[in-house]
């Protein structure tokens, strides 16, 4: 494990914890952006440059803006922050803890076969390779992803458009 990998993982975990633990929702979003950047760093270490760039452009760029919009919609002032009951926190901790326990216990002995430096193809994550796979082998899911985007578009317009006669803005 290279020191760079360890550093990126450390920052990723820390900032992910920050997303959950931060009191201020805007801080959570900023931590999330940091998490996305460290994940992009991981993609770069895996030599998947296109994914790294897309992760920054779409997630850290566009989706985060949506998050901020949602925060502004929700009117999350500290006074109006609902108090979560202790029982819910306790149950969540138990559930999350058991999931962690199971994952760690199950994955402890997993021994993936290491890569073979002589036959390993380091260029597999390049954008040209990805394009060939995406548009040849995965052509059908790619086309149908447009239906997914279209459905999302229609849905957001339907829910977000102001009807004639509605007074709110």
């Amino acid at each position: 494990m290279s020191p760079l990998f360890l550093f990126l993982s450390f920052v990723a975990l820390l900032s992910a914890l920050g997303v959950v633990l931060a009191k201020n929702p805007v801080h959570s979003v900023l931590f999330l952006i940091l998490t996305f950047f460290t994940l992009s760093g991981h993609y770069l270490l895996l030599n998947a440059q296109f994914l790294a760039a897309v992760n920054i452009i779409v997630y850290a760029g566009a989706i985060m803006v949506l998050f901020l919009f949602v925060i502004m919609f929700l009117n999350l002032n500290e006074e109006t922050e609902p108090h979560k009951p202790a029982l819910a926190k306790f149950a969540a901790a138990i559930a999350g803890g058991s999931l962690l326990l199971i994952l760690v216990a199950a994955m402890r002995n997993v021994n993936p076969v290491g890569y073979d430096p002589t036959s390993f193809d380091s260029q597999i994550g390049m954008v040209d390779r990805l394009g060939l796979v995406l548009f040849q082998q995965y052509a059908l899911p790619f086309e149908l992803a447009s239906i997914l985007l279209l459905a999302a578009m229609v849905g957001s317009v339907m829910l977000g458009k102001r009807e004639t006669g509605e007074r709110n803005f």
Binding site: L103, N111, L140, L144, V154
Partner: protein, 466 residues
């Protein structure tokens, strides 16, 4: 494949039909388009197609059969959107377009041969459902339903995706047939735990979508808040497609890991039957009762998964097909009647049905047939649905599960008879007027009742087709 292409194009067509001046043509238009899809789908029956697009999609009799159910269900559901047409709903074209798009997702979930297709299909279906759950924008219960469904559904999809990733990590393939080999004879035995966690997470993800316990907690609230027209779609099409995907995953990709998932599914099955039936028995709202009843029917369908033991053909698979069909027909009729009554009387508890036998004999009869079919009384389709599934399970030696399911359907009898008591034995409120029903709805309800009875008298023509 044809049905996916047609549904996508017709979806867009429907979307743009919304810009026409009159919305009168929308409903018959959508029904005609869906009939065309239904016909095109049936044309593929017994036709052998090579897998499409590098093993992405398989069109065989299994795909055609389940696609037939979901398309037919949507066709007979559409007449109940008449009240939207009458009220001049501005988003009607969007509703129909989203229903058609979500059918694309359903067909992908039925015909997938590659886990990416399963995932994209589930996403298309779920996104449309999240939106439609919240389509009644002025109603805070509808908003709540959409938000709950979206948050929990997005989480379940994430778990499903995590499961797919772990499965890929353990086997190195997404294609179902290759997965079967890699699961049965793993190259790297130390990856086995990763495979098991992957399978477990996929079961959780799909179990959520078909509302099997213990992942059913969203169902009553979401079904109650969602406009009834879309609740009917959710509890039939989403469940049918989900079970088709579930059976295919377990039977084609994971028969090698049967020793692992079979006990899990059995436990889920027993729990779903228990919670669904007991939950339904204590409800006071007809809609919530139907929501819990849809949970309990997920339990009966899970018996089919247990009995299938990794077979996509044979008794259990045919049983799941027949049960899904009978369940969909009865559920559409029940929700259809409930929607008509609730629209007219502005309430949806049992008392809303009081005296319906006097005021609207046809609605009451249709509801009666639906309830009897859901309860599994002989001479209705639901009886043979249960019979085939339980016979398949008994044939495999799961006697305990079968006995438990029979006991639970006794509990079911209790709550399915309550609407009947309300309709025939309780007097209507003072001055209750008959619920207005127009011609096409009358015809659809009659057709649904007829289908239920035909399936219950001569089930032979559809019972062993898979």
């Amino acid at each position: 494949m044809t049905s996916i292409i047609l549904l996508s194009i017709f979806g867009i067509l429907n979307l743009f039909m919304g810009f026409m001046r009159s919305n009168k043509v929308l409903l018959p238009g959508a029904m005609l388009l869906l009939l065309a899809v239904f016909g095109a789908n049936l044309a593929d029956w017994n036709v052998v197609h090579a897998p499409y697009f590098n093993n992405m999609l398989v069109v065989d009799n299994y795909t055609v059969a389940f696609t037939g159910i979901v398309v037919l269900t949507t066709i007979v559901l559409l007449p109940f959107s008449r009240s939207y047409v009458v009220a001049g709903e501005t988003n009607l074209a969007e509703y129909y377009a989203l229903l058609l798009f979500s059918l694309v997702g359903a067909v992908m979930m039925i015909g997938y041969n590659h886990l990416i297709m399963l995932f994209v299909g589930i996403e298309i279906l779920s996104i449309s459902m999240y939106v439609l759950a919240g389509s009644s924008k002025r109603d805070s219960r509808s908003n709540e339903a959409a938000l709950k469904y979206f948050l929990m559904g997005a989480f379940a999809t994430g778990i499903l995706l995590f499961g797919i990733a772990l499965l890929y990590g353990a086997t190195g393939t997404f294609v179902l047939s290759d997965l079967a080999g890699a699961v049965a004879a793993p190259e790297n035995a130390s990856l086995q735990p990763m495979l098991y966690i992957g399978i477990l997470m996929m079961i959780i993800g799909i179990g959520f979508k078909v509302s099997a316990a213990p992942f059913h907690f969203w169902t009553p609230d979401v079904y109650e808040g969602t406009p009834t027209f879309f609740t009917a779609f959710m509890s039939t099409v989403v469940k049918t497609a989900g079970f088709a995907a579930f059976l295919k995953l377990l039977a084609v990709a994971l028969p090698g890991a049967q020793g692992f998932w079979l006990p899990t599914i059995q436990a889920m099955c027993a729990l779903t039957l228990l919670l669904g039936n007991v939950g339904a028995a204590v409800q006071t709202s007809t809609k919530r009762m139907l929501a819990y009843s849809s949970v309990s029917h997920a339990g009966y369908l899970l018996i089919g998964l247990v009995a299938s033991r990794g077979n996509l053909t044979g008794d259990a698979a045919s049983g799941i097909f027949f049960y899904s069909l009978a369940y969909s027909i009865a559920t559409i009729a029940a929700f259809g009647v409930l929607k008509l009554v609730a629209d007219h009387r502005q309430r949806d508890d049992y008392a809303a049905l009081n005296g319906l036998g006097k005021t609207n004999p046809l609605l009451a009869f249709s509801m009666t047939v639906a309830m009897l079919s859901l309860a599994g009384i002989p001479l209705t389709g639901g009886f043979f649905g249960k019979f085939f599934l339980l016979a398949a399970a008994a044939g495999q030696g799961y006697i305990g599960l079968v006995v438990f399911a029979v006991i639970m359907s006794m509990v079911g009898l209790y709550y399915y008879l309550r609407p009947l008591i309300a309709m025939y034995l309780r007097p209507a409120e003072e001055g209750a007027t008959p619920v207005p029903v127009d011609g096409i709805q009358t015809a659809t309800l009659a057709l649904l009742a007829l289908l239920s009875i035909v399936l219950g008298i001569v089930p032979g023509f559809l019972s062993g087709i898979l």
